[in-house]
Structure formats: structure tokens, C-alpha cells
Amino acid sequence: MAEVLLKIEGIHKRFGGLHALNNVALHINKGEIYGLIGPNGAGKTTLFNVLTGLYTPDEGQFTFDGIDLFRAPPHIVVSGGIARTFQNIRLFHEMTALENVMVGRHIRSKANALGAVLRTKSVRQEEAAIEAKAWELLRYVGIEDVAYERARNLSYGHQRRLEIARALATEPKLLALDEPAAGMNPSETEGLKALMEKIRNDGVTVLLIEHDVKLMMGLCDRIAVLDYGKKIAEGVPEVVRKDPKVIEAYLGAAHS
């Protein structure tokens, strides 16, 4: 039996009259690549935002690696070990790629204002370590040659990779990726797929939202399907694919 890393139960989220998440429960096991799919407006991104602390759920339970994260603010969620990327890339555009990743180290470093002003030995060492780690991560995702470029000027594919490096800098146990392959060509997508597998093999669990169902089927260990704020199916890709409810949700959405 695999070890459970993340577990939510009975999660509800409402926006005014819209019941965006309705009694959602799921668990993610350590070391797997877990996919979240569903038609547009099914509540994937809302769930994603709940899991990463950006939205506070109205009801439910949320535990992660033994700690209670229900309604925890983002910085607690991140320090607990969940990091994310954004569907519409949100880098710090005027910072260099290297600096972007260094910001990701914030939560794993300690220097306070006084230390920064006095520039004590421990602060200098920490700063050097931050930079070294940032370089390491840029190499890890394969974009160290653009370290000194401003994020704004990077190609789309590089921006995606940079966002992943920045998220990895927080040393997550769970890396949550919101449509990382959106807008990529097939060869870039292949590269990304390899990167995600590498990340998983290095011990980081991956949560993935993606429209590209083919990519998801080939990559994910397990998949959950959302429709109208409810989880309608969950399981290994081969089973989910044949689930009549899933087929109906997708066909229904396509025909409406």
C-alpha cells in the first residue's frame, strides 16, 4: 500500500451562487504523478488554488504529510511542502532567471533585516548557498545559459521551465503544475514530459492539470476527473478512460 501524501475530504468552495467545488475528496500518494482533468469550468483550477493555499475552502479537511493545512495561508502551505506553477505563467518579469529562482529560496532561508544590513558571516554564507542552489536548479531544468536574462525576454518554453525551477527551489514534496504544456509544440511537450518524470524519479510527487488528455494518459499514475465541481471518477488512466461518466462529461461538454 502506497503512502498517502496529501488527503482532502468533503471540500466545498462557493463563489456567491456558484458552487465551484462540491464535496470533493481525493488523496495523492507519495511518489506518483497525479492528474486532474475535466471539461472547462469543471473546477480544476479552483481545486488547484485550494490545494496551494490561494483560496480558502469553505468546508472540508485538508492534510498534507501529517500536517493540517485546512485554510492555511499560502506561505504555510509552501513551507509545508507544496509548490506550484501558474496556468498563465507568473514570473517576476523584470528579474533575471537566476533571481526568480533565488526568490524561491526565500522560505528555506533565514536572514532577517538586521542580518542583511550587518552582512554577517552566516548571512553571506546563506546568500552564497542560495545562489548556488539557484544555479543548480537552472541546470536541472536545462536553462542555465539564460540565467542572466530577464524573465520577460525568455522564450515561452524557457519561461515554463523557469517557473518549475522556481517552484522546486522551495524544496517541495509535492509539485503542482497548472497546464504546463499549454501552448507548447509536440517536441517541447516531450521535453517537458521527460522533465516531469525526472522530477518524480528524484522523489518529488507531482500534481498535474492538463488539457492534453493523451499526455496525461501516458504520464500519470492516477487521474481524477472533475465535472461541475464534483469528482466523477478517479483511478488509473486505463480505467478512467473507459468510465461512462467521464465519456459523458467530455462528450456532453463538447456537444453543448
Binding site: 483550477t45 488554488n49 490561494l54 483560496y55 501558474f86 496556468q87
Partner: protein, 309 residues
């Protein structure tokens, strides 16, 4: 009780003037997302020009009923302020439309200083009394007194505000303004001439400002080169209080602010056991603003903008 009614009435007069000026701020903000810091100076110019025209008429031996004199003077002051507002936008804001927000804020402040200094050049540094041509007869309401002039001010404010709302809601120009405020890029693509709309917004706001300036001057019986500063600040506060960019919010915020200020000035002594006196009146505007924004960060009637991830 009398004090209470009296302060409410005073607050209503003050508040309608705030509201009229607040509309100028909020319209510009709604369209361009910019604090037009120089709007207070437009209000000041409205008052100054009106006084100048009235004095000129009196000196030329023209003696008409007070109301008619003010009306004639307004016929000069309103277009003058409209021209001023138009020019301000063309010179100081339009070239910076795509620059970061702080740049136009600084030009606005610079312009504000320039306009004050120009006013000193023309009218000097002293208080200028409003010519004694207006009737200051009073009316008693529930034991409180209000001048007929003040009643007129409130009514005129309400009419002008209603007129503006009508223009914005019902006319083609108004529709174009609303479209531009929601998304200038798309409005442009849909054939709206954004430059024209922005100019129209400044012109309309400045026209209202001119009228408000005259009201301030008649209400306090004087005008001064620096008068636009505090009243502009209060009016802007009112606009933010109501939810900046929202016309109804500006009106509600203005009237609310006027009444709170005036009640506060009347009762602060009692509330604090005599510790604080009415010289703390100005604190109310800001204190109320801060309290409201803590609970409603987008103002009373402002839209709640959800953070999108």
C-alpha cells in the same frame, strides 16, 4: 436636537459640493485609472474666474439680480475650466498614458503647483471676498436654519449629478465612456475613439468642478488660490470612500463625508469629554476613510475585485 438637525443640514450642503467634485475625480479614475491631482485647482479656477467676471460687471456698471450675475459669470467660468481640464489632459497626462502610474501622478502634482502659482500671479495671495450680490435670507427647518442659497446649492448639485448619470447611462457618449473604462483596448477596437472619450471626461468633470468652485466660494463667501487643495483632497477622499471609479459611489461618499464631518465637528467635544475640539474636524474625513477601507478595501460601492490566479 437642534444642533443635530443643523449639523445634518450643514453636512448635506458641504456633502453635495464634495460629491460634485468627487465626480470629477472618479470619472477620470474610472476611465484612466489616474488620480487627477490638479482637479482641485480646476475648482479653484472656477471660483476665481466667476468672482472676476462678477467684479468686472459691477465695475462696468452692470447691475442685475445676484443670481443672474452668477449665472453669466458661470457661462464664462464653465467653458474656461473645461478648456483648462482639456489642456491638462493633453499636456500632462496623454503623453504618459502608457507610462507607469507614478509618472502621471508626479506631473499632476507639478501641474497643481503651477496652477496655484499662476493663480497667485493673476489674483494675488490674499483671500478674495465673494461680491455681496447674493441673498442670504434663511429658512427654518425643524429649528435649524439654512440659507436659501444653500438650498439652491443642494438642489443644483442633485440636478447636475442626475444629469451626469443620465448622460453616462443613456447617451452614446456615455456608453462609449463606460466601454472605455472597462477595457480601453477593446473599446478602441470597437471603434470608440479613446482620445475623444478621455477628453470628454476631463471636460465634463472640469465643468462640474467649475460649478462646485462657485458653490464653495458662495458658501464661504471667499476664494483663495489654495482653496482647491483641501477641498480637492476631501472630495477625492469621498470618491475613494464610495468606491473610486463608481459615479454613484462618489455621490454617496461625498454626501456621507459631508454629514460625518459636520456631525463630528458638532459632537466631538461631547464625545471626548472636551478633550478634542472642533478643530479636529478634518480628522473625521480621514479616520472614516481608513475605517471603511479596512472593512471594504474597495470602498462602499466599489466592486470587490477577486484575486485571480
Amino acid at each position: 436636537m437642534d444642533i443635530f438637525v443643523q449639523q445634518i443640514l450643514n453636512g448635506l450642503v458641504l456633502g453635495s459640493i464634495y460629491a460634485l467634485i468627487a465626480l470629477g475625480y472618479t470619472m477620470v479614475y474610472g476611465i484612466m485609472g489616474l488620480i487627477n491631482f490638479a482637479h482641485g485647482e480646476v475648482v479653484m479656477f472656477g471660483a476665481m474666474v466667476t468672482i472676476t467676471v462678477i467684479s468686472a460687471m459691477t465695475n462696468a456698471g452692470i447691475h442685475l439680480p445676484g443670481g443672474a450675475m452668477v449665472l453669466i459669470a458661470l457661462m464664462v467660468a464653465i467653458p474656461a475650466c473645461m478648456l483648462l481640464g482639456f489642456t491638462i489632459e493633453r499636456v500632462a497626462y496623454r503623453p504618459l498614458r502608457n507610462a507607469p502610474k507614478l509618472a502621471p501622478l508626479i506631473t499632476a502634482i507639478g501641474l497643481s503647483i503651477v496652477l496655484q502659482q499662476v493663480a497667485i500671479l493673476i489674483w494675488g495671495r490674499n483671500y478674495i471676498p465673494f461680491p455681496p450680490i447674493l441673498n442670504h435670507d434663511t429658512i427654518d427647518i425643524f429649528g435649524a436654519t439654512i440659507t436659501q442659497l444653500q438650498v439652491l446649492i443642494v438642489i443644483l448639485c442633485l440636478v447636475l449629478m442626475a444629469g451626469l448619470l443620465l448622460v453616462v447611462e443613456k447617451t452614446k457618449l456615455g456608453r462609449a465612456m463606460r466601454a472605455t473604462s472597462q477595457n480601453p483596448g477593446v473599446a478602441g477596437l470597437m471603434g470608440v475613439n479613446v482620445n475623444t472619450i478621455v477628453s470628454a471626461t476631463f471636460v465634463m468633470g472640469s465643468g462640474l468642478g467649475a460649478v462646485a468652485g462657485v458653490m464653495v466660494a458662495t458658501n464661504y463667501d471667499q476664494a483663495h488660490y489654495y482653496m482647491g487643495f483641501m477641498i480637492g483632497l476631501k472630495a477625492f477622499t469621498a470618491a475613494v470612500l464610495g468606491g473610486i471609479g463608481n459615479l454613484g459611489g462618489a455621490v454617496a461618499g461625498g454626501i456621507l463625508l459631508g454629514i460625518i464631518e459636520s456631525l463630528g465637528a458638532g459632537y466631538i467635544g461631547d464625545l471626548t469629554g472636551g478633550f478634542l475640539g472642533s478643530n479636529y474636524q478634518d480628522i473625521f474625513a480621514f479616520a472614516v476613510l481608513i475605517v471603511v477601507l479596512i472593512f471594504r478595501p474597495s470602498g462602499l460601492l466599489g466592486e470587490k475585485i477577486a484575486d485571480r490566479a
